[in-house]
């Protein structure tokens, strides 16, 4: 009996070591173009709410993490083919995405999405032209509404489309649009908001449940001791938990 116990313990230890070895470096995939969630700072490094959050989560889960940028359009295919291990890119948890990858628990509340338009413009939500970033919950929302959807590969291009009149308004996360509206006199947020999505979570491969569990535990511990709320407040991202 004793030898069986010892044997099991030894097996458990080697398994943990083997697992720790397999994820000795966790590669964190992000977009780097969606402040305040993630962006490239002046020094050329990944910065923002998710950078701070991700570094803290890795510290709590005792993982060594490395940041990688990838364009939004191919961010899921590159995760499933193993080019990096997580997606931490302001990605809302949706059923469609959940069929392809797994999500950790959400680390933001569902953030209201706002409309940004030229200051003083009248926007027709049923027949107008609304811009959104491709493959986002906002794009799916517009597509199912009466308005005409124009999609762009980067968030920045959606704003440019409103400025040059290609679109009447842009629909995106409130946290992304608010600083832009505040600093540009020619742009303004509309009163109307949409509540879509189930909050933002980290994406991991479906076969990688151990990594998911580690991050879930780390997110839970940050929720419990209030550090997550402090981060959300610092970067002005929606309500806390």
């Amino acid at each position: 009996m004793k030898s069986i116990l010892l044997g099991t313990a030894a097996l458990a230890i080697t398994a943990t070591v083997a697992f720790a070895g397999s994820h000795s470096v966790v590669r964190m995939g992000t977009e780097g173009a969606y402040p305040p969630y993630n962006f490239i700072n002046d020094a050329g490094e990944v910065d923002g709410f998710e950078r701070e959050l991700g570094d803290e989560l890795c510290a709590r889960a005792e993982l060594t993490c490395e940041w990688v940028t990838n364009e939004w359009d191919s961010i899921i295919p590159n995760l499933v083919s193993g080019n990096y291990d997580t997606i931490i890119a302001g990605m809302s948890i949706t059923d469609e995405r959940d069929e392809v990858i797994d999500f950790t628990q959400n680390y933001t509340q569902p953030d209201p999405s706002s409309y940004l338009a030229l200051d003083g413009a009248e926007v027709d939500f049923d027949g107008g032209v609304i811009a959104a970033q491709a493959n986002t919950i906002q794009a799916a929302f517009i597509a199912s509404s009466g308005a005409t959807l124009v999609e762009f590969a980067t968030p920045d291009e959606t704003i440019a489309a409103v400025r040059n009149g290609e679109a009447d308004a842009v629909l995106a996360d409130d946290a992304y649009l608010r600083p832009i509206a505040e600093e540009n006199a020619d742009l303004a947020l509309l009163d109307k908001q949409e509540l879509i999505g189930g909050g933002v979570g980290m994406g991991v491969r479906e076969s990688d449940s151990e990594l998911k569990d580690k991050f879930n535990a780390a997110i839970q511990s940050m929720k419990d001791d209030g550090t997550l709320n402090a981060l959300l407040a610092k970067w002005e991202i929606g309500p806390g938990f």
Binding site: V25, E66, V68, T69, S81, G82, I180
Partner: protein, 293 residues
């Protein structure tokens, strides 16, 4: 970078610009410029080798070899570049990893394809998951070089195949009647004379290759066009010390100047090369040179 860059908001426009253009983020676009040039420098000769092999096998007398050469030219030339880049690179990467997986982890029991996930054992990963970021970038870069070389090699093969057929046949017959072997005829008579016929086609390919480098971004290599878009986009003061409006037009204007200069220099160099290759050739150009001399 400069010592006076501590508080950018207080600077006048010239100093502000000097600081702005030397941020770490701007260093990335300068580095990507060298990435593009390096890619061209490695890809062009590699593609030429691929093309030479393709063309010489396509005109081989040994039927299977000739089929391989012709199939390579026909298939790669027929598939749209963008489809080739999107599909082929991921497939190539997974193929390499699968081979390493079969060799290094023969005891592995789980499936390689688990639903949507492609999972090989960790020591078969290319590069290893725990290797530093620069190794991942170098690997991506080499995959890009290989893909570019295969695509442009097929076009070069077609050009060289045509050029080999353009060498006057009686020259080859004369060489044979002098008692040269087939390989001697190929290397001493055919190859030296074919370049003058190949150069116009190859110079076209070079021009197209220069402009095809933005396809790099499809392969995850951050090239100058990506950085021009990223740096040129409007920046709000909350997230940068250097806020500015939508400056993409200026960045793309700079790219335009860069590409125009680059293609112009290439044209001049290729014209010089043409004059050298024409020298002493039994072509109209060679004849004209002989008369003026």
């Amino acid at each position: 970078m400069f010592s006076f860059c501590v508080d950018p908001a207080s600077l006048d426009s010239m100093a502000w610009m000097a600081c702005y253009l030397t941020t770490g983020k701007h260093m990335a676009i300068y580095t990507s410029l060298f990435t593009v040039l390096l890619l061209l420098a490695i890809t062009a000769p590699t593609a030429l080798v691929f093309g030479f092999l393709g063309a010489s096998s396509a005109r081989s007398d040994f039927a299977p070899l000739s089929w391989v050469g012709k199939a390579y030219i026909a298939i790669v030339r027929g598939v749209p570049d963008i489809a080739f880049f999107l599909f082929f690179v991921i497939a190539l990467d997974q193929f390499f990893e699968w081979i390493r997986h079969e060799i290094k982890c023969p005891d592995w029991e789980a499936d390689i394809w688990q639903g949507n996930d492609f999972v090989v054992c960790d020591i078969a990963k290319l590069p290893l998951g725990n290797s530093p970021q620069w190794m991942h970038e170098t690997y991506g870069f080499l995959l890009a070089v290989l893909t570019f070389a295969i695509v442009f090699g097929a076009f070069a093969a077609n050009v060289l195949y045509g050029a080999m057929r353009a060498v006057p046949h009686n020259q080859l017959e004369t060489a044979e009647s002098y008692g040269m072997t087939r390989s001697q005829v190929f290397w001493r008579i055919l190859v030296p004379q074919m370049w003058v016929f190949a150069l116009p086609g190859l110079s076209n390919l070079w021009m197209v290759l220069i402009k095809a480098t933005p396809l790099l971004f499809l392969l995850g290599v951050e090239d100058i066009v990506y950085w021009a878009r990223e740096l040129g986009g409007a920046k709000t003061a909350r997230f940068t010390d250097y806020p500015h409006g939508d400056w993409r037009m200026w960045y793309f204007l700079a790219l335009l100047v860069f590409y125009l200069l680059f293609t112009r220099i290439s044209e001049i160099a290729l014209d010089k090369l043409m004059i050298r290759l024409t020298h002493g050739q039994a072509t109209l150009g060679g004849e004209a040179q002989r008369k003026t001399a």
